[in-house]
């Protein structure tokens, strides 16, 4: 377990070698009117890995994720996914929203199948697929419930199932667990690790929780406060074969948490 933490000043993004960059973020800057949200971000994301964006509130994590998703246009720079430049949302990327973004008037089944419905897939086919993913996230039996009948944790699983159902290569998750209570959150983190393991997809994940980031990530990108820039990249290299509880008390794990905590502490009020 080695920590690849580079001091801020001599950090050079170009030097970070990646093997199979599915997503390339190239010199992305973003201004909202006079607010500079992001300043020339360069990043690469590999297949089968989970990368976390971590940084103080307002540093542009959501903005970057939405630019990758094609939901927000960048002011300059470009996003390349699977070798093609992004101009808008595409079927190879799926977004999981912090507030779940479930349609309150639709059943779990319809919510999960919504991405397919928009593609024009026939009802029978899309329900079949939706059912499969509902099962995969452990919600079988809840197909005909409405979102308000579910707990926060269950709602987010619907959101994740919906993202999986369209079979995208890249999953973009914006603080997916922040509305879920602490105790369920741990379970989720383990579920997420299992999903990363099972599906060979690229996960880009945003969180506020240092522990969560260290626990689930293959790589952590630290962003500086506004305007957001990459301030550090850390590879926790945690041995996933160990028992989750052992991981959480492993000194290596705790060192990384501590290091990030020290790095971010001066941003707190």
């Amino acid at each position: 377990m080695t920590v690849n933490a580079l001091a801020k000043e001599d950090f050079d993004p170009a030097s970070v070698v990646t093997h199979d960059p599915v997503v390339r973020v190239e010199a992305i800057s973003k201004h909202y009117g006079s607010v500079e949200a992001l300043r020339s971000i360069d990043l690469q994301f590999e297949r089968g890995k989970l990368t976390t964006l971590l940084g103080p509130s307002g540093c542009g994590k959501t903005t970057l994720l939405k630019i990758i998703a094609g939901l927000v246009p960048a002011t300059s720079g470009q996003i390349v996914v699977n070798g093609r430049a992004v101009t808008g949302p595409g079927p190879e990327r799926a977004f999981v929203f912090q507030d779940f973004a479930l349609m309150p008037w639709a059943t779990v089944l319809r919510n999960v199948g919504f991405g397919l419905e928009l593609k024009g897939m026939a009802a029978a086919e899309r329900n079949r697929i939706a059912r499969r993913y509902i099962e995969e996230v452990g919600l079988q039996g809840f197909e005909d419930k409405y979102p308000h009948e579910l707990s926060g944790g269950m709602r987010q699983r619907v959101g994740i199932a919906r993202a999986f159902a369209v079979n995208a290569d890249v999953l973009l998750l914006d603080e997916p667990f922040s509305a879920v209570d602490e105790q369920n959150r741990r379970k989720f983190q383990e579920d997420l690790l299992r999903l990363v393991e099972m599906e060979r997809k690229t996960f880009i994940f945003v969180t506020h929780s240092i522990e969560e980031a260290v626990y689930v990530s293959d790589r952590i990108v630290l962003l500086s406060p506004r305007p957001g820039r990459v301030s550090n990249i850390i590879d926790p290299r945690i041995d996933r074969t160990a028992n989750p509880d052992d991981i959480r008390r492993d000194p290596g794990y705790l060192d990384v948490v501590e290091e990030i905590w020290q790095g971010l502490r001066h941003y707190a009020e």
Binding site: A14, S15, R24, E26, A27, Q44, S76
Partner: protein
């Protein structure tokens, strides 16, 4: 890592102009206000000149009639007469309505007894009842004030009642946990916390009061602005009649806008979410 796109997007000048226009259109509300007023008045003027009816004056005639009436004092006197029942009625409705509303909000029994009555009164077309007032209260100020109250009171009562029912329960709990008495709870927590909504109810009451006073002046006896409208109609001074109608609508709009301004800038309901 390949840094291959340092290129800043080159935007065509045409697009920038269009963008600038769009931004202008979106940002400058006052521009649209002026433009839509101009369009309205021009259409009015043209329609009046055709004319679409002998009873339809042009905008300029109406404007002239307005200044004439302001100049010779009739407009001011008319507003003076119209505002009397309005101010009185709204004041009575405010006092009575806020008190009743608060009592309804505080007591389940009073709520049970009174809430349905006011719900019915608010939903019902009270205009039908305005002429009845004459039978009991005659034709003077009292009758008109009563008409204003009939329209304004239910709105104020129901809003005050809602305001009290929606007081932040944890503030009430807080007061109880410091052994506040019921009196302290009402005067130090409930009324202050409800005050933005109480005030909003008052504003709606004023709007209803304007409707009430116009109904009273058109249905009970013509006085004030209502008299200007009926009299000038009966002698075919349609421009004057239009001017009177426009004046009362403008007056109510300005009054309500001022109240709204007061509400958002002084009561600051948005800042109350602590």
């Amino acid at each position: 890592m390949s840094v291959m796109s340092q290129d800043v997007k080159v935007v065509a000048p045409a697009a920038t102009t269009r963008e600038a226009l769009r931004l202008f259109a979106e940002r400058r509300r006052s521009f649209w206000v002026v433009l839509s007023l101009a369009v309205l008045f021009t259409t009015w003027e043209i329609a009046g000149r055709i004319p679409i009816s002998f009873a339809f004056p042009t905008f300029l005639d109406t404007l002239a009639a307005f200044f004439e009436m302001v100049g010779d004092g009739t407009m001011i006197r008319a507003f003076f007469l119209t505002l009397q029942p309005l101010v009185l009625g709204v004041a009575v409705s405010a006092l009575l309505g806020i008190t009743l509303g608060i009592v309804m909000g505080l007591s389940d029994r009073v709520e049970w007894l009174l809430a349905p009555v006011f719900i019915v009164l608010q939903a019902a077309p009270m205009a039908a009842l305005v002429p009845l007032v004459t039978f009991v209260y005659g034709i003077g100020l009292v009758a008109k004030t009563l008409a204003v109250i009939m329209l304004a009171l239910p709105v104020i009562v129901l809003n005050s009642y809602k305001a009290v029912r929606h007081v932040n329960p944890s503030l009430v709990d807080m007061c109880r946990s410091f052994q506040g008495t019921r009196r302290q709870q009402i005067f130090k927590i409930i009324i202050p916390d409800a005050s933005p909504v109480l005030f909003a109810g008052l504003r709606l009451g004023v709007a209803a009061g304007f409707i009430g006073v116009m109904l009273a002046e058109l249905l009970i006896t013509p006085t004030g602005i209502g008299d200007l409208i009926t009299y000038h109609r009966s002698v075919a001074n349609y421009a004057h009649m239009y001017a009177a109608v426009a004046a009362i609508i403008a007056a109510s709009t300005v009054t309500l806008a001022l109240l709204q301004w007061f509400e958002t800038n002084v009561m600051r309901p948005e800042k109350r979410r602590s």
